[in-house]
């Protein structure tokens, strides 16, 4: 492959330096200033309503923590309850996650639904006020 000489380098510099200059169209300044005035006239962006959202966020955070703690506790209980499977002939049957009665499971489900309902209602209320 032919190597470029200093002359070629200078030529590339010369070609790329003498790019044609274009002039903005006559209405460019007016168009920019119109856009700037529109920008200045527009109301400032609405800040996020942290004060209103805070209770909902706290409730959601607490609910999430409770679920995580509950999940970890359930897994820990599961680990203690299961015995090692020595026989390979029988497929292992997964033990139930909750050892409590069906009533306890129902309470958890109702609680989860309640948290979801309150979150939705709260966010709808906040949105309708804005």
């Amino acid at each position: 492959m032919r190597r470029l000489t200093e002359h070629d380098e200078a030529e590339i510099n010369s070609i790329l330096s003498r790019e044609d200059e274009i002039l903005p169209s006559s209405g460019f300044t007016v168009s920019v200033m119109d856009a700037v005035r529109r920008e200045a006239a527009a109301p400032p962006p609405i800040p996020f309503p942290w004060k209103r959202a805070l209770p909902g966020l706290v409730v959601a955070g607490l609910a999430l923590s409770l679920i995580l703690v509950g999940g970890v506790a359930a897994i820990a209980r599961l680990g203690k309850a299961t015995t090692p499977q020595l026989s390979m002939s029988m497929p292992p049957v997964p033990p139930p996650i909750f050892h409590g009665d069906i009533g306890a499971a129902a309470i958890w489900t109702v609680l989860a639904l309640l948290v979801a309902f309150v979150s939705v209602k709260l966010s709808m209320r906040v949105a309708s006020r804005m």
């Binding site: 470029l4 510099n13 790329l16 274009i22 903005p24 460019f28 920019v32 700037v36 005035r37």
Partner: protein, 191 residues
């Protein structure tokens, strides 16, 4: 501080004090460079004006963020360059591949004049730059736009000078590899 920099600072202070009309002075002083810089990125006249307008709007919104330790034009060019780069990443300019432009010009269809060959070669080199990977293309574009001033080009791109030099070197190396036929066109002026 030169007259333009003083005018810029005065206009910025007036705009920040609530006089929006003072921004027009900034637009008039910098519209041609900003439109031309955009044009070097996209090679589309209409789009370059749209991009320059958006750059002015962003400058207006961010005037308060200009720290006066740098000249206003440096800040403005850096802002515009950043915007143009992201705009070109979003919707790339129409380019051709380097393989497509590496053919020497067909002298059979032109009248074989020196002007034709020069034009073809200039066009091929520019398209060659346009087909480079973005980081080399941007380095070359800014370097030549700022009249081969490494420091100003580096500040516009927000890069250390050493990085810019490396990119310029690599960009030229790629061009070298791809364009030898074009630069091998005989130099009649020297014959």
């Amino acid at each position: 501080m030169n007259a333009s920099a003083t005018d810029d600072q005065a206009d910025v202070e007036r705009v920040l004090a609530g006089n929006i009309a003072a921004f027009e002075g900034i637009v008039q002083r910098w519209q041609t460079p900003l439109v031309n810089l955009a044009y070097r990125f996209c090679h589309d006249r209409g789009r370059s004006e749209d991009m320059a307008q958006e750059a002015f709007l962003r400058a207006y919104r961010g005037l308060g963020q200009w720290r006066k330790d740098a000249v206003f034009s440096t800040w403005l060019f850096a802002l515009a360059t950043n915007l143009y780069r992201s705009e070109l990443r979003r919707i790339p300019a129409r380019t051709v591949s380097l393989e497509d432009i590496a053919e020497p010009p067909d002298t059979r269809i032109s009248d074989g004049g020196q002007e034709d060959r020069d034009y073809d070669r200039d066009l091929a080199v520019r398209r060659g730059v346009g087909a480079l990977p973005a980081k080399y293309r941007e380095a070359l574009t800014l370097f030549y736009f700022h009249d081969m001033d490494i420091g100003t080009a580096a500040r516009s791109l927000g890069l250390p000078e050493g990085t810019l030099k490396a990119r310029l070197f690599r960009g030229r190396e790629i061009l070298r590899g791809k364009l030898p036929q074009l630069l091998a066109v005989p130099h009649l002026k020297e014959a």
